[in-house]
């Protein structure tokens, strides 16, 4: 097996599971240490630089980091990374002085952005301080896109949106809100140096079932309905509500219904409960608000009387694995079921829609009739038109929109400076020893045994009365500290120097999780079975040294390493060292051009 190379960022980045899983590669352990230290503003700025919306994401992120968290593999639950981000946002001081200053003068390049959601705002934030003249277009009256229109206020207060959107618009840009772009051709003709399309996936899928037309007054498209609630156009719903769909939008719809007069609210979903697209914690919140989730039921017809919806028919199905191993829903043979209701919310998915994009202007479309977009440069087939967020590759989430935004900003910057957008500098990285004394480290290497703390919530009876009352209270600083101490500091890496090792076995003996083995080198498949604890998690790499004095090699399975530093403490020769890995993502600006 190949010796592990410490001289590229790839190996050690992957060890930091949370950061690796985050589309924007936010340095999670770094900001968690700052939170533990009470340095909330610093923690906020680490986030702001990387993911642009710490306060918003600290309440709403899909948290790809948490299922990846190493803590979840050594005990039951991962660190509450997302809600710790909120601790930083809630407790920070005024950080306005730490934001980039608006550019002194224009660099002469004009960039238009369609849609003022998270993707466009990220591009705007990266480019505005560089002197780009930015114009943001959005059909809504306020900037924020789906963050403002689709996420209910009881999950995300408007003040947080105003604050974080304001940090970006305050960098100096022209806002043209309430202005919907209805022709790309016309916009192209206005001579912008670059156009960024971050218009989201604004079309909610409908269900074309018998009765849909007749009962239309009481059947609503989920995201449109949520947006109407957000902007105050809808304030009531019927007493009995059925939400169709199993994603996070369905969860927002049912919980919003409970606050607008829905007493008997049900979610009814085609798939099994486990396979629902909604995040586990969102399902949990819905169930907590007395909303039953009925699974394996496929809607077949809307029933109505005198133009008024009376209910929905469902076929009961079950899951079956077919010969090719695919999961299929087949009729269960049980009789169809009818559920009475006054209103139905359809939340069965959303899709991109570009009716304002003319054909024949150089934009190529793929087999699904979506614009062709390069997955790395975010560039379309019109060289100065770039995409990001849900508009690029269909519905994802805010943190992906941010990641796209950073990538698109690099491309736009390079494009406007006449450089090749495909030549993208790799991220910068560093490894710095954390040794402070013989057995002292700059980080807290004593592993906390605490189990994951729950975020406190307001009383149910109170929150169900007000659609704008935030449910979660967030961790207080004391609980935030305790939760932060659960972090294993995976960015503080175990770095091994072959030439110093005397093979005394001290590290192998002390390791609390049996990560380290000195053994004869063979191929990886065989090595994995011969370690002190078999390395069964194939997603996690093996760290392999060069040949040592006795001809053996050191093999470390990264899977459940606690980063406690005991290997380095018990090493007599300093062959092991704990070194902090930092990854500097390439963002638009001088760095992306010089490196």
């Amino acid at each position: 097996m190949q010796r592990t190379s410490a001289w590229t960022p790839d190996y050690f980045h992957k060890v930091v599971d949370c950061q690796f899983a985050c589309p924007a590669h936010t340095p999670v352990p770094e900001y968690i240490r700052l939170i533990a230290d009470g340095r909330y503003s610093d923690a906020y700025m680490v986030n702001w630089k990387s993911n642009v919306f710490p306060g918003i994401l600290g309440r709403t992120c899909d948290r790809p980091c948490e299922p990846a968290c190493r803590r979840g593999r050594v005990e039951e639950e991962p660190v509450a990374i997302c809600r710790l981000k909120r601790v930083a946002a809630d407790n920070k001081d005024d950080i306005t002085a730490r934001l980039p200053a608006p550019a002194d003068k224009s660099n002469g390049k004009r960039v238009a952005m369609i849609g003022a959601g998270p993707a466009s705002l990220t591009v705007a934030r990266d480019l505005a301080p560089l002197g780009y003249e930015i114009t943001l277009f959005d059909g809504d009256a306020k900037a924020g896109g789906m963050i403002r229109s689709q996420i209910p206020r009881f999950r995300l207060p408007e003040s947080v949106i105003d604050e974080e959107v304001g940090y970006i618009t305050g960098l100096g840009m022209t806002l043209r809100l309430g202005e919907r772009i209805d022709s790309l051709k016309a916009l192209l003709a206005e001579g912008y140096d670059a156009i960024f399309i971050g218009s989201g996936a604004p079309r909610g899928r409908d269900l074309d079932l018998p009765g849909r037309e007749e009962a239309r007054a009481n059947i609503h498209i989920g995201i449109d309905w949520l947006s109407s609630v957000s902007f105050g156009h809808i304030e009531k719903i019927g007493r009995r509500v059925i939400v169709l769909g199993g994603g996070n939008t369905a969860m927002d719809c049912c919980r919003t219904s409970r606050r607008l007069g829905g007493e008997d609210v049900k979610v009814i979903v085609r798939s099994g409960f486990e396979e629902m697209k909604a995040s586990a914690w969102e399902k949990e919140d819905a169930i907590h608000e007395d909303i039953p989730i009925l699974n394996f039921r496929v809607p077949t017809a809307f029933t109505h009387e005198a133009g008024k919806l009376t209910g929905v028919w469902f076929e009961v199905v079950r899951a079956e694995i077919d010969a090719k191993g695919r999961r299929k829903l087949v009729p269960s043979g049980e009789p169809d079921e009818h559920y009475d209701c006054d209103d139905v919310l359809v939340a069965v998915g959303q899709e991109n829609a570009f009716p304002w994009m003319e054909r024949g202007i150089g934009m190529e479309f793929d087999e699904w009739d979506m614009p062709k977009v390069d997955t790395i440069t975010m560039q379309s087939t019109i060289p100065n038109v770039f995409f990001g967020g849900d508009a690029a590759f269909g519905p994802k989430n805010i943190i992906w929109a941010v990641a796209h935004g950073h990538d698109a900003a690099v491309s736009i910057d390079k494009f406007c400076q006449g450089q090749d957008v495909t030549e993208r500098p790799p991220p910068d990285f560093s490894l710095v020893s954390q040794k402070m004394g013989i057995h002292e480290w700059s980080y807290d290497n004593d592993i906390a045994n605490d189990r994951r703390y729950r975020v406190p919530q307001r009383e149910k009876a109170v929150v169900l009365k007000d659609v704008k009352m935030e449910v979660e209270l967030g961790f207080d600083p004391a609980t935030g500290y305790k939760e932060a101490e659960r972090c294993l500091n995976c960015d503080v890496q175990t770095v091994f120097a072959d030439n110093l090792c005397i093979e005394c076995d001290a590290c192998e003996d002390i390791c609390p999780v049996d990560c380290i083995t000195f053994t004869v080198e063979t191929d990886e498949t065989d090595l994995r079975t011969r370690l002190k604890a078999p390395a069964l998690n194939l997603d996690q790499d093996l760290y392999v040294s060069g040949a040592l004095g006795t001809g053996r090699v050191m093999v470390k399975d990264e899977d459940v390493c606690l980063h406690c530093g005991l290997c380095a403490e018990r090493c007599p020769t300093g062959a092991w060292d704990m070194q902090r890995f930092t990854l500097e993502m390439t963002h638009a600006g001088a760095a992306c051009q010089s490196r």
Partner: protein, 351 residues
Amino acid sequence: MTYILKPQLHHPNLPTNARGFTRRDYEGSVSTLCAGCGHDSISSAIIQAAFELNLPPHRIAKLSGIGCSSKTPDYFMGASHGFNTVHGRMPSVLTGANLANKDLIYLGVSGDGDSASIGLGQFAHAVRRGVNMLYIVENNGVYGLTKGQFSATSDKGSKSKKGVVNHDAGIDLVGLALQLGATYVGRSFSGDKAQLVPLIKAGLAHKGAAFIDVISPCVQFNNHVGSTKSFDYVREHNEAVNRLDLIPAHASIKVDYAPGETVMVTQHDGSVLSLHKLAELYDPSDRAAALGFLQSRQAQGEIVTGLLYVDPEAGDLHDALDTVATPLNALDGAALVPGAKALDAINASLR
């Protein structure tokens, strides 16, 4: 010194033994010895052996004297009994404990200073009496706690860290144990757990005086060129005479080696020692031959390791004294004070 406690979190796939314990359950406090100390590897081997033998922690007594080695019982089997005696007096305290309660498993842990200098007489008498115990000497050939003087097991001609040549003859505890009548004698190296763990297991299972000399490099004061107890020197001069596997009583016996290369030795408790021969002519049942072999190899600068001698039929001190089956500390008043009638009977028999 490590200041933090060893994290409680362990590998999710860590196996448990028949008692439901993981290996981690046989650990003790975090070592305060120097980083890299060979003694820590021996502690780790003891932990592994106790785990594999399914030993009940509360039935083990760990005894030690004074010195780096004698600190180590704190670093393994934290749930067992422990006694840290006066310097060099561990053997007599262990003998007394064993006389009082023969049902515990006795593990004496000592060092070259504790056993070959101040405690040499104590060591000799505990061994010759056949006290049922496993006596481990963690032998680094140097006085580490007092900053690196030669110890009684330092080889003549070896160099100290400062470059001084040792002019005294070294005591070979293995040779001594053989002469004194130990019924299980082995030597191993802290850096070779594959050899050491089975030796400890078989030693714990052995009835009678079992002795293992474990060469354990002192990284701080005796791991330099010119030392005969350094990692490099021991690795270069290690001559293992056999590889041992302990097969517990009632387990099915499987032999991996070709016939003729493996000797099976059944012990008192029914466990079987499967000895894979490495040195062609070595016979671990012949005490006198073992002594000769050791001395000839030692003269050539080789360090002979492995199971050097075993008498599977050995008895112990209690057999010699013909004590009752019940441990003496469990005898009640009625058994200890049989009354006037019994006394009269005894007196009558002596008239």
